[in-house]
């Protein structure tokens, strides 16, 4: 099923290695087949309590009143937690690296912005008693107008989903409501093109659907600390997020991850740990908070939907001369990681191809749906879908075989990319050649001889006769990193301070 094609790039490798390259058995395989592998939930702690949350049935509503009186008297209830009990109830995940503004409450206080947003947490002796108490909580809501479409959300007069971002978009560089990519002159490129096409591509939100749901168990430990067994994909990310939300020194928390039962990006958001730990702090007992499957599917964050408008200009000889992208990331009600994905997406455009004129505007848009998060291929998967469907359309337009069309336009070592860095260590051409060979998809000899490396045979001519767009200077080395952040005032150097003072 898998073969190594070592003859490619052999001169760049030293294959004289002892352990690397061997199909050595996984360190955890024996544990997996015997059931000895430990997941966060495989712990039995004395006196463990169970936490579940009341979730908003409305996509957008003001909370007028919360009546806990009946719930508090419900059998088995140990503690009910509200927004005002959370030491720092407003956060955004990437504040740890100084990106974004705190916009999301751990427990909603005056407003809910998506269906399923947590409002109240109940800690009880059993799962069932927690659910029974939740059913007794009375909340008065005042429903508000909703917006679910990314382009509708950007129009003047659209309901404001998240007051932190009053125009329903993330602000980039304190200047723009989108991330820009500008390389060359696309309008001139389109004018030169033989065909110009534009299409809209839409990717739906998707669930990570790991076999193990999100969850954690937090327990008081020795020395005033808390041990936290968690399903997180990012141990210190989650630890520092909890330290911030709970306003405790980071070494109060001892995070232990097990093997994680599938993540795919859906276990980075620190969804259960803050409340589990707070529950343990307030009750003095171990507290477990695990998502049910319906919770995981509907209220656990999905891969955000993306809408992409892709416009391409192609010459008669098959060279793409201009590519223009307008893309919208549906971030849902809060930022989480979508704002960061937008930048990754902009960096990815126009794909692994050398195109002299590229223009992109990528937006992070807020709507009244479950906040989105990272998922396998974050920022890239949907764009690749759009680009590669479009490449197929372009190939058909110019009458070229799709494989040959890719090879013709593929980037090669030394080509300038749209984000103004030189392409290095490229291998798209070879991948296309080998895939074609494996699939017995015939391509012409001249395309089978081409190479990614400088000096490799290339189709004539690669640069058009017309004067190209002004070329930016070729960097010999990446530009120097930004100046180091100032030392944090409190004197302790924590990784979360590396990127500078946190924005409130």
């Amino acid at each position: 099923m898998l073969e190594l094609r070592r003859e490619y790039f052999a001169d760049e490798r030293d294959d004289n290695l002892k352990e690397i390259g061997k199909g050595t058995q996984r360190q955890d395989m024996l544990g997996h087949v015997t059931g000895a592998s430990t997941y966060f939930n495989d712990h039995k702690l004395q006196g463990m309590l169970h936490l579940k949350v009341l979730r908003s049935p409305h996509s957008h509503a003001r909370i007028r009143r919360i009546d806990l009186s009946e719930a508090e008297r419900s059998p088995g209830v140990r503690r009910i937690i509200r927004g005002q009990d959370v030491p720092r109830n407003l956060n955004t995940l990437l504040s740890l690296i100084n990106f974004g503004i705190d916009d999301e409450p751990t427990l909603a206080v005056d407003k809910v912005r998506y269906k399923g947003e947590p409002i109240v947490a109940v800690v009880a002796d059993s799962h069932r008693e927690a659910f029974e108490a939740i059913a007794k909580i009375r909340v008065d809501y005042e429903p508000l107008p909703t917006v679910f479409d990314v382009e509708e959300a950007l129009k003047a007069g659209a309901p404001v989903v998240n007051e932190t971002y009053p125009k329903n978009t993330f602000t980039y560089h304190e200047r723009y409501d989108h991330q820009r990519l500008r390389f060359g002159d696309v309008e001139r490129g389109f004018a030169e093109a033989y065909h110009v096409i534009e299409h809209r591509y839409q990717m739906s939100p998707i669930e990570h659907a790991p076999t193990e749901t999100n969850g954690s168990i937090a327990a008081p430990d020795t020395n005033g600390r808390y041990v936290v067994y968690t399903s997180t994909q990012a141990l210190f990310f989650s630890l520092d997020t909890c330290a911030k939300i709970l306003d405790v020194p980071s070494n109060t928390l001892h995070f232990i991850g097990g093997t994680v039962g599938g993540g795919f990006g859906g276990k980075v958001d620190t969804l259960t740990e803050p409340l589990a730990i707070l529950g343990a702090m307030l009750t003095g007992k171990p507290v477990r908070y695990v998502f049910g499957r319906e919770e995981e599917m509907q209220y656990g964050p999905p891969r955000g939907a993306e809408r992409i408008y892709l416009k391409d200009g192609v010459r008669r000889d098959g060279r793409i001369v201009a590519r223009k992208v307008r893309a919208y990331f549906d971030s849902g009600a809060y930022t989480r990681l979508s704002s960061y994905a937008v930048v990754k997406c902009a960096a990815h455009i126009p794909g692994p191809y050398t195109i002299p004129n590229v223009y992109a505007d990528v937006y992070c848009v807020f709507t009244n749906r479950t906040p989105a998060t990272a998922m396998r291929g974050f920022g890239v998967t949907a764009m690749d879908f759009a680009i590669e469907c479009q490449m197929d359309r372009l190939a058909e337009l110019v009458g070229m075989d799709p494989m040959e069309f890719r090879i013709l336009n593929a980037y090669r070592d030394g080509d300038m990319k749209a984000h103004r860095r030189e392409a290095k260590n490229t291998a798209l051409v070879e991948c296309v050649q080998v895939a074609a060979e494996k699939a017995k998809w015939p391509i012409r000899d001249e395309f089978r001889r081409m190479s990614s490396r400088q000096g490799g045979a290339s189709p004539a001519p690669r640069r058009e006769a017309q004067p190209p767009a002004p070329r930016p200077p070729v960097y010999e080395a990446p530009p120097p990193p930004p100046p180091a952040a100032p030392e944090p005032a409190h004197g302790a150097a924590r990784f979360s301070s590396v990127f500078g003072a946190r924005r409130r």
Binding site: Y201, V380, V432
Partner: protein, 340 residues
């Protein structure tokens, strides 16, 4: 009325590591009294094989058998900081940190061996089987176990190492988007063959052929796991999955696995994979990371294959039977394209 076969392809690249960098990982390596090594990480293994590849990297860098290395991870008290397992960063960032820590530990180990054998450390080599000997004179040898004991109980040396790997954070130009998103990229091309039933709109996967360029296949069995599993997920994204079937209308959504569909073991197809290795100058032994990109080429390859089979373009994922049927109806039936 009939089933039509078609083929489609897609080619992609994928950036390795957290976008823009600034995502460090650290590792610690130390030997116990009898020459067995522990790698201490806080990195998370979510099935991608973090513990396994770092174990192999450590063994290679130290020059000891892999059986003499154990990776302990996911404890914030004992594992040094790692940004996390995401963005295809694990092999590249954590792998490099482990290699650096292992190299430092190896340096101490070789100095300790040199002292025992009364030679210069530069004249020694490891055989990867637990022995350290003089180059060209294999009989002048000492085991790593003996070295570890001598180092700790006689020489007062600690056979240990620390490593950190950081790609410096890149700025982003607000006007042009100029930035350094990644230091290396992986590549792939995938061909999908499908069969479309023009009466039900159902799409059946027939086979996939692919080529992935990954820098270095540290462990081909683990690479195979990722590429096969990832391609399966790609098929699932292309044809089955959505949390909002009528997006952007949010009214309906699946609540369980009966409503959230994914292909089962009876829906899979053969997948033949070729792996190319163009080492990344800054990857551990040149390795990049296949974890995310393995799903990406499948989505457009399948969409292109459906077009080839029946002439219907669906630009809206997932490509459900309803969408295929609507497309067929709009164009008056199946219009297969030339066989590729």
């Amino acid at each position: 009325m009939s089933k039509h076969r078609g083929r489609g392809m897609a080619s992609i690249n994928y950036p390795i590591g957290m976008n823009l960098g600034g995502d460090p990982s650290q590792a610690l390596v130390h030997s116990n009294p009898t020459g067995k090594f522990t790698v201490s990480l806080s990195s998370i293994d979510l099935g991608q094989g973090m513990k396994s590849v770092t174990r192999q990297i450590c063994a290679e860098a130290l020059g000891v058998p892999v059986e003499d290395v154990y990776v302990d991870t996911a404890d914030s008290d004992t594992g040094p900081h790692c940004m996390g397992s995401f963005a295809s960063r694990g092999t590249h960032r954590v792998g490099n940190a482990v290699a650096a820590a292992a190299r430092e530990a190896r340096g101490v180990m070789m100095e300790a061996a040199a002292e025992e054998l009364e030679v210069n450390a530069a004249d020694l080599e490891t055989d990867g089987r637990g022995n350290i000997h003089v180059k060209g004179a294999p009989h002048r040898s000492i085991t790593t176990k003996e070295v570890a004991m001598a180092a700790q109980f006689k020489q007062g040396k600690t056979i240990a190492g620390r490593g950190i790997f950081l790609v410096p954070l890149s700025a982003v130009d607000p006007e042009t988007g100029e930035m350094s998103p990644a230091t290396c990229y992986a590549h792939a091309c995938l061909v999908a063959e499908v069969e479309v039933d023009d009466e039900t709109g159902e799409v059946t996967m027939i086979r996939m052929d692919s080529a992935y360029e990954l820098g270095r296949a540290l462990n081909p069995r683990l690479v195979e796991q990722q590429l096969v599993g990832g391609a399966w997920m790609g098929v699932s994204h292309a044809l089955y999955e959505t949390t909002e079937p009528y997006y952007p209308n949010a009214k309906q959504g699946p609540r369980d696995f009966v409503e959230y569909l994914m292909p089962g073991p009876g829906d899979i197809c053969p997948h033949d994979i070729a792996v190319l290795e163009r080492p990344a100058p800054d990857g551990p032994y040149g390795a990049k990371g296949p974890g995310e990109m393995c799903a990406n080429p499948v989505l457009p390859a399948v969409a292109n294959a459906i077009y080839n089979a029946v002439g219907v373009r669906v630009d809206d994922l997932p490509i459900t039977p309803e969408k295929v049927l609507r497309g067929l109806k709009a164009q008056g039936g199946a219009k297969p394209k030339a066989r590729r």
